[in-house]
């Protein structure tokens, strides 16, 4: 009996294929496509700034500051706006922002 029970317990009753099986998780196709292909010109550009001639590391760092600064200028205000929208209309900072209340 116990042999039968253990045999049943080990039966593959679950088909083993979830709805998102194979298309989610890290790494996946997007990881390769975006970071391995689409953004390659950006990596090459940044590398060329620092290793090409005439070279000036300070200018290269300034270029990096442009990239980081403009990205931050685009997204950081949106983080604050999201927090404000949450506080004003929905009673608190939404997840997954810091200081947020766990949602329902």
């Amino acid at each position: 009996m116990s042999t039968l029970a253990s045999a049943i317990a080990t039966l593959p009753l679950y088909a083993g294929i979830g709805g998102t099986e194979g298309v989610t998780g890290f790494p996946n196709i997007g990881t390769y496509v975006i970071f391995g292909v689409v953004l390659v010109p950006v990596y090459v550009m940044i590398a060329a700034w620092f290793i090409g001639e005439p070279r000036n590391t300070k200018a290269g760092l300034m270029g990096l500051a442009y990239l980081v600064g403009i990205t931050a200028a685009m997204w950081v205000p949106m983080l604050f706006l999201t927090a404000i929208i949450g506080i004003v209309f929905f009673g608190g900072i939404p997840e997954p922002l810091p200081f947020s209340d766990p949602g329902p």
């Binding site: 689409v38 010109p41 950006v42 550009m45 300034m62 442009y66 990239l67 685009m74 949106m78 983080l79």
Partner: protein, 467 residues
């Protein structure tokens, strides 16, 4: 070619508040009103919900949940491409002829991308979802969501273009600093310091003439990165992949959408550059800077891209009619009978025919016709893109939405969004042209050299057939 020699004072003419004319104020008022009308509609949409557009679920618009908002989003990203591609072509391929419109084109990229980004926020329903669903879960979603790929690459595109503009402006702003505007308002007895000075100081932080060559090389690499990433991997990549990766929508599915999207984008892009260039030329008497020759060249490029646009449409029609699957046949039959597809194709074909005719008979060219061609292409691409988005949902595999009630037609709020974003882009140009020169100082130096050279050699080149 005009006999007037371009000078620094020419490109400084739009800058500063002293140069504000009645026409400027009228255009500013019209653009603000256009943007304002849409903002009222958008606030109403925020208050009531996306249901006011019929796009909020599968059952109110006949199964259509992506409509004009998404069509216009693609349209604006397409227009944005013209700018930076033209500018990169000047820098990488030595197409100096277009140097006078290169910066206007770069600015069109920033404005167009801003309009496109705005559409995403509007279409998300709740604007806070941009952060909570995209940024908050980026590490999970970027691995498998084409929507998040899009957000990533559009951010990269915007950042690269703004960096490009920021680096090239250092040269101009440092040399023209004394002629750039100041703004020191007096509030009661308090005299405020110059509020614009910090902006110019940040833009030229640490500038010295020694950096010019290094910056020029860095900008060349930015141009190279953009010209590979933006057309091939953004508008020929992640944006068409929003549709082309979904086999249940035969009107969308297939590898051809990459090149097809790109050619459509390039036609609207060149049209956008033609319109903006013409507006500035007319407003500031820049006939000797933005010459007829530039419009002839841009029109030829427009013709070339129209040809590619129609060629790829032909590929889709032939493969969709010869021996298609049942699902694919329904999608193609819609194209061959729906005015929102047929009319734009005829408009693009008409523009192509006109441009071809101008190459045979150059006297057929004039700027008004070039503007007309650009406007027709812009209307055609907006309608075609919206039809593409909507028709994909009209004809899914197995006709799975056939029982959903309702029909989709863009609501007034959606229609006003087109007007509103055009107003928004116009406002962007009206404001930025007051702060910095919209024509590169390099372009003026180049044109002056050319003038000097022409006066010496007295030779004229034939402009009609070169691009």
């Amino acid at each position: 070619m005009s006999t007037k020699t371009p000078t620094e004072s020419d490109i400084l003419r739009p800058v500063g508040i002293e140069s504000i004319s009645k026409t400027y104020l009228a255009v500013f008022g019209a653009a603000t009103a256009a943007f304002g009308i849409f903002l009222v509609g958008w606030f109403y949409q925020l208050y009531v919900g996306m249901s006011v557009t019929g796009l909020s679920d599968w059952g109110t618009g006949g199964g259509v949940t992506w409509g004009l908002y998404i069509g216009a989003f693609i349209w604006w990203v397409g227009i944005a491409h013209g700018g930076i591609i033209l500018s990169a072509a000047v820098r990488l391929l030595g197409m100096d002829r277009y140097m006078p419109v290169a910066r206007l084109a770069e600015m069109l990229t920033l404005a167009g991308l801003s309009a496109a980004g705005f559409y995403i926020i509007v279409h998300m329903g709740r604007p806070d979802r941009m952060v909570t669903s995209v940024i908050g879960h980026y590490h999970i979603t970027v691995n498998n969501s084409p929507l998040v790929w899009d957000v990533t690459v559009i951010t990269a595109y915007f950042v690269l273009t703004a960096t490009y503009l920021g680096l090239t402006l250092r040269y101009d702003v440092s040399r023209l600093r004394d002629d750039l505007p100041s703004f020191s308002p007096k509030i009661g007895s308090f005299q405020a310091p110059d509020l614009l000075a910090p902006i110019y100081n940040v833009m030229t932080l640490g500038y010295s003439e020694k950096e010019d060559k290094v910056i020029e090389r860095m900008v060349w690499w930015v141009a190279l990165a953009i010209i590979i990433m933006a057309p091939l991997l953004l508008h020929g990549g992640v944006i068409p992949w929003l549709f082309a990766l979904l086999p249940t929508y035969p009107g969308w599915f297939g590898a051809i959408q990459g090149p097809q999207f790109l050619t459509i984008a390039l036609t609207s892009a060149i049209s956008g550059v033609i319109l903006v260039s013409y507006a500035f030329r007319r407003a500031y008497d820049w006939d000797h800077i933005i010459t007829d020759d530039i419009f002839r060249g841009l029109l030829l490029w427009l013709g070339f891209f129209c040809l590619l646009f129609l060629w790829l449409q032909l590929q889709q029609l032939v493969s969709g009619t010869f021996s298609p699957t049942v699902d694919h046949a329904a999608a193609t039959a819609s194209k061959l009978s729906h005015p929102a597809y047929i009319v734009p194709m005829l408009m693009v074909l008409g523009v192509l025919a006109y441009i071809f005719a101008t190459t045979l008979r150059p006297s057929l060219f004039n700027k008004k016709r070039a503007i007309g061609a650009a406007v027709l292409v812009l209307i055609a691409t907006l309608v075609e893109k919206t039809y593409f988005v909507v028709a994909g949902l009209w004809y899914p595999a197995f006709d799975i939405y056939s029982a959903t009630p309702g029909e989709y037609f863009p609501s007034l709020i959606e229609l006003s969004s087109v007007l509103g974003t055009i107003g928004m882009v116009a406002l962007f140009f009206l404001v930025i042209s007051k702060l910095v020169p919209v024509v590169e100082l390099h372009a003026i130096e180049h044109l002056r050299d050319e003038h000097g050279h022409e006066e010496h050699t007295e030779t004229e080149s034939e402009p009609e057939v070169k691009a």
